[in-house]
Amino acid sequence: MRTVNPGTYFWQGNEACVEAAIIAGCSFFAGYPITPASEIAEHMAKRLPQVGGIPIQMEDEMASICAVIGASWTGNKAMTATSGPGFSLMQESIGYAFMTETPCVIVDVQRAGPSTGQATKCGQGDVMQSRWGTHGDYSAIVLSPNSVQEMFTLTVRAFNLAEKYRTPVILLTDEIIAHMREQITVPPLKSIEIINRKKPKVEERAFFGLEEVPPMPAVGEGFNIAVTGSTHNEYGIRLTADPTVHRRLVERLSNKIQNHVDEIADFESYNIDECQIGIVSYGCTSRTVYEAVKNAEKRGIKIGYVRLKTLWPFPERIIKKLAETAEKIIVPEMNLKQMFYEVERTANGLAKIIPLNKIGGGELITPEELLAKIEEAEKND
């Protein structure tokens, strides 16, 4: 029953994700092969049995997410990994996991879509799918790592948030972060916080209400749990005509996330109190920002940035703060403007929001391209 030893490693992002999941307590993985996420399934297939866990390759992504949901109801932590096309196939059951309050982790290693697109090349086109992909009203928790080290820390955090809020959590990474190799440090296990779902007391029966995050029993424990994706009362009994029951349930499910935006929000920021130009970035694109900012400062430009590690729920407070200082905010993305509109909405006219978009061939926005945009923004007052 061994998790990886603390120490320094030279890992691929996907590998770091697997080792982190195992440390977080993941004991079940179900997936379907897809580039650029397949290494997660391959590494899980090797590592999970060594720690007493179960990996299985299902017949498609719909089966994968559903096997993960079943596993979660046995009281175990479970995850799946996929890319855009498979993520689309999972959407119905991600909504089911949300509605039934089933903690689980879904890794989406983004590639260039739509459709099969450029299957081996990087993209950031699933940002809105990760937020709004399933039908109906819901709230999503979506994390975005920008290094192999963060593939590790944010995978652990994804499990912790899933368990704490009893909801599916999406680790929205991309081909570049998932496939590159970097040095990574696995800290001593004792220093890693692991959160486990709240279990009910013997006499408890309300597993779907009364509290913001109700306790979650497992099957086979004698609780006679009724789980359904249809509208249900706090005891899990289906009530599909009562408007109050639906309102109460769906609003609670959404609020249990929206009421904790600040706690879920995670970001890195630099010089946001004094900058004239700000940058909001996330994932692989944010790696360009560091060098562009350094070079802009050499040219005397007052610049700062916010790098989002939590994409959803959208951390409005920090973006608002940046917009209060910066006159202009550049949003570089490897898509055709997805987070741009969210930043614009949040800034609400306090700053001018400038898009910088690049798609195709998995090419990153270069530091030179970003610097050019920064200089252009500075000049055009």
Binding site: P49, V51, E59, S64, A67, V68, G70, A71, R238
Partner: protein
Amino acid sequence: MTETFSVRKYLRDLKLPFCPGCGIFTVMNTFLRAVHELDHKNLSKFVFCSGIGCSAWIPSPYFIADSIHTPHGRSIPVATGIKLLRPDLNVVVFGGDGDIVGIGLSHFIHATRRNLDLLVIMVNNMVYGMTGGQVAPTTPFGTKTTTTPYGNFEYPLDAARLAVTAGACYVARWTTTHPNELKESIKKAIKMQGFRFIEVVSQCPTAFGRRIGLKSAKDMLKWFKENTISIEQAEKWSEEHLAEKIIVGEFVRRQRPTLVEAVYKIIEEAQKNEEN
């Protein structure tokens, strides 16, 4: 068996939602009677998974048991996650023909191929009943439904034979006119390991019967009786003669290494190698 049988002891005190004359009452009653005769005082050793459709409401939430009412067609994958991590529990899937061999067909074949330790009871009413009587993959050729107003131009799927071919350990088909045979099959299947499939041809007078000239449950049961032949008898008949018939009986009963056995063997070996 010391106690007398009552479905009530296994059911929540809720009003059942099924139409008058629905075959689901027979399936529900027969399943619980089988459980009772196997001396299960309650359903604590079972987990039920069911998708979307009338038959999915057999366990959810009416059985006093753990029941997971899944997205349409996905009961078998959810059951896969449960059974692999809790091999000690009897995992039973209830579903209609649309759920199991329509939208969920791929999962059905793969679970059978894997020999997942699972009992699947499919209530085949030959139609999408809950949505109002649309054509199903099991609707007989030529039948008029709401989406085949000129008659069904497709041929129905034989789910039982498919399960045999895919590798199931136990396959039986009965109609709702065979409650005793059905009960004995359920008892046998509950006690076995591996993938087990029982198909129950069942009447839906509301969304199917009345459109094919069989207005009541009684008419539909009469139709089943007149058109049913045993699998032994069927072997002597030509394909042509069997086209309109419902073949009932035990299609297969065999032992094969199961998925749970195979998976746990691998875990054991991987852990042994890790220690060395």
